[in-house]
Assembly symmetry: D2
Homo-oligomer: 351 residues x 4
């Protein structure tokens, strides 16, 4: 991976992925068959059952042109209680039902002796490369992605990222991590993005606006490639092992906006730009035996390193999505070229 630009000042964790936050796993179900180029990605906050052991979480909306499910209750109660599913826009309902059926299977008392479940589903629109109207994603794909969830996982044109476009190039799944300075061990912030946003002219890598250069190369390659407006959405999932409550996680999630902006995006009108942050430091029991619970939280002035890490890791994860992508031809013969098909590596681009 030395071929991609290194963002910022902070050190990455050992894997350089969201799974540097212990317990976090990612799995994909990928559909690649002619006009169908789509899929599902699942982020599991920990190896246990998140319904019984919820994690503190918060989500923020930078631009709300999107159809995500589950954010309202997550922000009211401050917890995430399912794995996070990412998919194509028109399949959000299918993922919601998949999460419902999974929860029913695991919890016979669901909606009877206990509450219902709050499915958390994010989406981007892959309608350029994928025949979105075919609704190819099924509930089984959720199960497949969830079963595959592990600390080691693929990135690029896989899972929900299969049909995604980013800055007029091939986008998809990207990931990165950062470790904060100056503390024994430091805290880890891991990020996974579903990157499907941006206009090529504005693409900026490590501060360098290389969009026009790539646009020229792309034009030389093909006349038939449709431009991408700054729309299509980006989903940013941030995990941390720092002990943060809902309000603090909201503050961390807000910093994703700085990372997105640095890549050249201005949060386009048609883009659903959303960030969710969760903490694995402790869980909240579904059935609490006591009236009160003891929580450890970071003091507020210690948040700055986490904020810097969140911004850096978001930018790095977007870069990762672009460099991990492969060229894909899909619906109606549409093609999105991988950045690495237009440039051998970052060193060449950065000359």
């Amino acid at each position: 991976m030395s071929a991609l630009p290194r963002i910022g000042r902070l050190a990455a964790g050992p894997r350089g992925t969201i799974a540097d936050v212990a317990g976090v796993g990612v799995g994909h179900a990928t559909i690649k068959a002619g006009d169908l180029q789509t899929g599902v990605t699942v982020v599991r906050p920990h190896a246990g059952d998140p319904f019984m052991h919820k994690v503190p979480a918060a989500a923020i909306v930078i631009n709300g042109f999107g159809k995500s499910a589950g954010l309202m209750q997550l922000n009211e109660l401050g917890v995430l209680e399912t794995p996070i599913a990412l998919t194509t826009t028109l399949s959000v309902g299918t993922m919601v039902m998949a999460q419902v059926r999974t929860a029913i299977a695991a919890h016979p008392g669901l909606a009877r002796t206990t509450t219902t479940v709050n499915p958390l589903v994010f989406e981007c629109n892959d309608g350029y490369l994928n025949d979105a109207q075919a609704l190819a994603v099924t509930e089984a794909h959720y199960g497949e992605a969830l079963a595959a969830a592990a600390p080691e996982f693929a990135r690029g044109a896989v899972g929900a990222g299969r049909g995604m476009s980013c800055f007029g190039l091939k986008g998809g799944i990207g990931t990165a991590s950062r470790v904060t300075h100056g503390k024994p061990g430091g805290w880890t912030v891991g990020v996974l993005v579903l990157a499907n946003f941006g206009r090529l002219e504005t693409l900026t890598l490590a501060g360098r606006n290389i969009g026009p250069l790539l646009a020229a190369r792309l034009a030389a390659r093909t006349q038939s490639v449709a431009a991408q407006r700054d729309q299509g959405s980006i989903i940013v999932v941030l995990a941390t092992d720092a002990p943060l409550d809902h309000r603090q996680l909201r503050r961390v999630a807000t910093r994703a906006g700085a990372g997105i902006g640095r890549t050249g995006s201005y949060y386009g009108h048609g883009s659903g730009d959303i960030a969710l942050a969760f903490s694995t430091a402790a869980t909240v029991a579904h059935d609490a035996p006591q009236q009160v619970r003891d929580v450890r939280v970071l003091i507020e002035t210690e948040l700055d390193p986490l904020f810097e890490a969140a911004a850096e890791a978001t930018e790095q994860a977007i870069v990762d999505a672009l460099f991990a992508a492969e060229t894909v031809t899909g619906f109606a013969g549409h093609t999105r070229y991988a950045l690495t098909d237009l440039a051998p590596d970052w060193a060449e681009l950065n000359r």
Copy 2:
């Protein structure tokens, strides 16, 4: 309808329903078969295609313990672009997919040459009377309810209201309208509620806390009725013919909270208390031919009568849901008694 309390000071429209706002239609699909007591209700903002002719809208969350779909984009863009579907909690995903398939059928360019669609689905949890885990609601029920949408419609234990409980009694669909004073013709505010909230002890009708009286009568009738905590949710849909923009509609929707509070609710922890307001005064074209559009909006100081109407009509619609309900026995033999089974009419209760 003389048997139910008359709320507030303002006059009702001719129908006394949300359909006093011209163009608004409501339809139901009802499932009543033993353990299955559930359904779908659809509110259509106008007789045309809301995707092509969107209506200005805004939603507010009083308590976010709920799984509604579509609120984020509605508040970002300020418009509603589908009929509003109401159903049981675990079937939100099914309704989302039904709206997606309906939109695909009507718009071949969806997610291809134009945007995707933002399904708007509300829910309450009917898991006491209905076998929620059976997931009895299908996409076909959405079509059935939509096809049935008309200015004349049933209320009570129908559609999405079939399995709902309210203040430990039978709840469901209620509706009311108010016409503002002092203007030539006045503006109309129509409300439809899906009422599934409240604890019996706190039930207050027209200011009178008759909950304890009804609780005593209920206890005499049966020992087996489960108490209801102030949870289960209330959805308030407000329509108006006043020319309001998104910000003003958000202000109107906020007033639903006053109406809910007057019935004795304190917005219980487990309740998804949400209000959506839309205006039928003008529509926003999906494909606008021009760069700008001319809009007529009410001046701000004219909003007070609409606020009063919104609070009154919300309270009246909740009362209507209680008085329109019938006793229902459903899942596991659970029964919710209609208020009118415990009291012949309001006059008797209000003695």
Copy 3:
């Protein structure tokens, strides 16, 4: 106080005031001199220095027609770091400067070696009874009110309440408390309101719309009394000894809206309806010696009794403000009659 209606089901604390939450003190500085009928009220969250020992807090805006200071930072950081000052609208800036000078005097490092301070000031508009343009409130009045802060305090037409109107009658400071059921000792919720809102026709006491009756009596008394629109604002300060974090306190504050609605208000256009809740269960140190802190918080399902208490105590405090008021004649000879001048007691009104 047996002469005023008793709201709701929950028991009051021993004082029946916000000071039933241990440590909370209230003080007034009152100006009553002809055209000048105004003042300052201070609520002190505890007897210590709130800058060094901040309390968890959250504020919500029901209707934002108001000029309060300090809410943005309070909601970002989740803490209150000054006493709460209440005053007349045009004097907010004076109170801000009074809090700044008080903080400078107490903390030589302010804005030098440590942060600045976030003054928390609420206001309502007393321009009917008070010559608001005279700007009679000075910084010294803040000091006077703060010095007077104690668990025993006056209510009615005192302090910031001196010139306030409520439902076309004399309004001002009211207070109440509720203790939750079923726990050893229970939690206490105390409320103080600055009540300056509402239209007489809609006034509803203990569920009874006695506004029209009082309007008739008022008309018989005088032809010169100006009607009050539902504007002028209500500020609700809620204190609790329950261990709640910022998110939970936001949820508690939201329930003030139910209490306000029950008195007949529909959150009028011109009203600044704002609620702030704080917890005295623990404080947050300004200079934290460690990186993390241990916090005890209530589990979420235990919140319902606090929500019910918040709604009830808010309604009771408004009733208290009306019954504690005395008739005041002020600016330009304007008079607001006390409710108790129009009715001997609640029993007579409630006949």
Copy 4:
């Protein structure tokens, strides 16, 4: 100005300042006397009286560690009704009172026959260069700055910017403009910033992280310069002549976050990062003679060029603040060096 980096792709207006939006004026009152290095800057939305002719406006909070006044009512009613005052943190109350007295003088009916006024005041903390505790800013400085408001105005270490620090260097007032493409004439977005944020190590100009280089030069110059954490706040005021309503202006203001992020900021914990956008396309009358008003608004899909302009102009205005600054020595002998004291021009830095 060829010596500073040119940001982005869009063209600037003729002045390259916020005053490219016709009618907008800016004025300063500057205090520079030893320990006192502070002042006031006023942005006037148009040459008339904004109380009588309000402008549509919206504000967003990126990070709420700040004490600004007036945002709540601005977002409730969607209009700005005073000039915008910017100053040092501890003087917000003084500016509020100055705006109140100005409004009283101009409107004898204020708080009597009409409403009160909603002062709009922003602040940053200049406590490093300025003796903030001296409270040197008086109400007269507001009048001086307002009287000086004009389309031509100084930037850099003037007015509210006098004592501000930015990325450990001298900050202050910066401004820029952008004109959108492809329309007859295009729309103009003008930005003025009060820049007082950022850590030197992260400073990024036109995508280039030149912070470490400047840090080395700064260290060679002096050992006594205190580092700046990413705190201290940035205020972004955006003006446009595009016809936008409150909701759309909120969307425009949100894009300031992208511009701030591109300069290397991660929205530090201690920073009040706030953006306000207003439109001069039409005004809203204080006393409306009619019940409705006709408004022209941009259709939503036309917003993208404005979003891009907002992000670019924000970044450019921050750059402008840094390059327009001069080295200032103030409180306790503290010095902040101007960027141009450490580098002759951008070309040299960008080698």
